[in-house]
Amino acid sequence: MSGSRWTWRLVALPGVAWLSVFFLVAFYTVLAVAFGNQDTLSQPVPHWNPLDWNVGYVSEMLDNFWHGGPFWTVSLRTIQFVALAVLLSLLIGYPVAYFTAMHAGRWKGAILLALILPLWINYLMRMLAWINLLAPDGVGSDVLHSVGIEDLFLSIGLLDEPGGWLNGQPVTVILALLYGYIPFFILPLFVAIDRIDRRQIDAARDLGASPASAFFRVTLPLSWAGILAGAVLIALPMFGDYYTADLVSASTQTNMIGNQIDEFMRQGSEKVTGAALTLLLSTFLLALMFYYLRTTRRAGTAAEV
């Protein structure tokens, strides 16, 4: 269409300016603070010029990592929690997404609605719901007790005492993360499975594959992009989560990297340390993101996020 090429750039300009200031400059501020210093009032003194950067705080933090300091402990725990929550999301989410896409029939619309619904319920409200349920006299506690899950968890040491779900149990935090984020995993997975051409599966069967082998050789590989997209989609925010662990546990044994950042940034007076930690977390997540993009691009299936 006609029109000067500058017109459209001009139209985009306010939005671009907004994102530049409130995203790029904001992020640069994190860098400037993390590589900055503190004044005698413990307030950050950002170093805006990269040539003046003071690597002290960041290197101190890295040092802490290498030598198994508290940041190492917390990071390791965070990775464990996230990995377990993602794995459980896959184990529960795949059959659900698979059923909805392949076998739901006339219920598909209704089930889809039920899958979408949690996305739009306030995360904190969903946590609040579980806190009530898991209280020692809560309905959830009773149910878990009567169906024997409580005994099971007690016997394998995942739970300290009967009804003690909110006593600061790692397992409660992992299950809460699972509950909080799994809807965001199922939807992209559903979309990926739904997009698979059924005739390809029929073709596999026609060529002599058993149902199981048709699944493992055709359906699963074709939904791989969806699995990956869903996993990244929930892993990224989980790495920055602090409220889940705080709400359902508040024990130091379940604090995640987000809790440390929150502690430094919002509660305490160590903003420079907090900024350095934020920087390291972002770098890690950026690397994760790039790895993901490279994998999907190589597979020729750049997943839509």
Binding site: L41, S42, P70, E161, G168, A250, N255, Q260, G268
Partner: protein, 384 residues
């Protein structure tokens, strides 16, 4: 003469043996005498749930003005927000001696004019009407006092905690209450607790404002040990969780336990299931104060509010109807409360006595280096 450590901005750090008088400078003078209260609204910055709405209502009615209360959840948060310059208030309450140097260093306060505060001399404990951290009460006037102690549910915890040689030991013997134990989510209070315990075992007086890295780290190690013993929650919601039974043993501020009894008990739970113990000496006592924001446009109204809160009746009502933190008023002590059947005997020791206040210690501002030892230890504890 020993070189005393200095605090933020190179200012002196007040100690009981090193009292400080904060200068009143020409560029920041108190409001002149004889003014009348400005029209509102009075903008107040306070801890969440830290003043009785009824008291506020009364003030608003008496002065035909409005009060807007903004709240914060921790002193660190308040200092961070105030010193960022992002917020501005007429009156700040809830901060304590451990924040005074920050407040002065950041030039956040306006000096007081005592002609507007007749109740200060009339009602307040003598030692707090002229405290060592602010000689002459140039900038601050006390609001309430409290001490750190142990709050517990005597229907669930069977040990006679108050009768133990070192009651703090209960936390290290709390295997039975695993998951239902709480530690105050405040680095100074929490880390000073094992220091007190150590000192009590040794029969010495601890320095709870120590800047000795080894002492701080030892405290952190002791505290971290608790994770394995009773997996404590780190929280300041004991005034809600103790009455609900979500926790049964808590490292508590005395005021929170009284507040729990006054206000937060569920229907059907009698107040005498709550017990409190606090040390008579060598423990932690603290006091909060009122101060006036430097940028205030309503200095006389702000003074009026302070004076109103220092009125014995108002202080008493705010204390027993809501807050639970003891105002350092000459006319209010535990005996009065017991007689009026307002608190059960089990909570008698949660009402801080002047003699207790004198022989315990306040947690005070540290030097920047000292602060870092405590911060690092705390982050290590928090990392689990």
């Amino acid at each position: 003469m020993v070189q005393k450590p200095t605090g933020p901005g190179g200012l002196p750090l007040p100690r009981t043996d090193n009292s400080v008088t904060w200068a009143i400078t020409d560029e920041n003078k108190p409001v002149k005498d004889g003014g009348s209260p400005e029209p509102g609204p009075l903008r107040v910055f306070n801890y969440a749930d830290y003043i009785d709405p009824a008291t506020l209502k009364k003030f608003q009615k008496e002065f035909s003005t409005k009060v807007e209360v903004a709240t914060y959840n921790s002193a660190d948060e308040a200092i961070a927000k105030l010193s960022s310059g992002a917020v501005d208030f007429d009156l700040i309450m809830g901060l304590s001696g451990s924040n005074i140097v920050d407040l002065i260093a950041h030039r956040l306060l306006a000096p007081l004019n005592h002609s507007y505060l007749p109740n200060l001399e009339k009602n307040v404990w003598a030692e707090l009407a002229d405290p060592f951290y602010d000689r002459g009460s140039h900038y601050t006037v006390p609001y309430v006092v409290w001490m750190d102690g142990i709050g517990w549910r005597n229907d669930k915890v069977k040990e006679d905690i108050a009768g133990m040689d070192v009651p703090w030991d209960i936390f290290w013997q709390a295997q039975a209450y695993r998951g239902k134990v709480g530690i105050l989510d405040d680095r100074r209070d929490a880390l000073s607790m094992p220091m007190q315990r150590d000192a009590m075992h040794k029969g010495v007086r601890p320095d709870l404002n120590t800047e000795d890295e080894d002492v701080v780290n030892k405290a952190q190690a002791d505290l971290s040990e608790l994770s394995g013993i009773c997996n404590p929650k780190v929280a300041i919601t004991d005034y809600q969780t103790l009455p609900e039974g979500k926790t049964v043993l808590h490292h508590s501020w005395s005021g929170d336990v009284l507040a729990a009894a006054f206000y937060y008990l569920p229907e059907g739970t009698p107040p005498d299931v709550l017990s409190f113990w606090g040390p008579d000496e060598n423990g932690v006592v603290q006091n909060d104060f009122f101060c006036i924001g430097k940028g205030t446009k309503r200095p006389v109204l702000a003074h009026s509010f302070i004076n109103f809160m220092l009125d014995e009746k108002n202080a008493y009502d705010n204390f027993v109807n809501f807050n639970g933190y003891v105002p350092p008023q000459k006319g209010i002590d535990a005996d009065v409360l017991l007689k009026q059947d307002l608190i059960p005997k089990t909570l008698e020791s949660a009402v801080v006595r002047p003699d207790q206040f004198a022989s315990n210690q306040e947690l005070l501002q540290l030097s920047v280096t000292g602060q870092r030892f405590w911060d690092d230890a705390w982050s290590k504890f928090k990392a689990g």
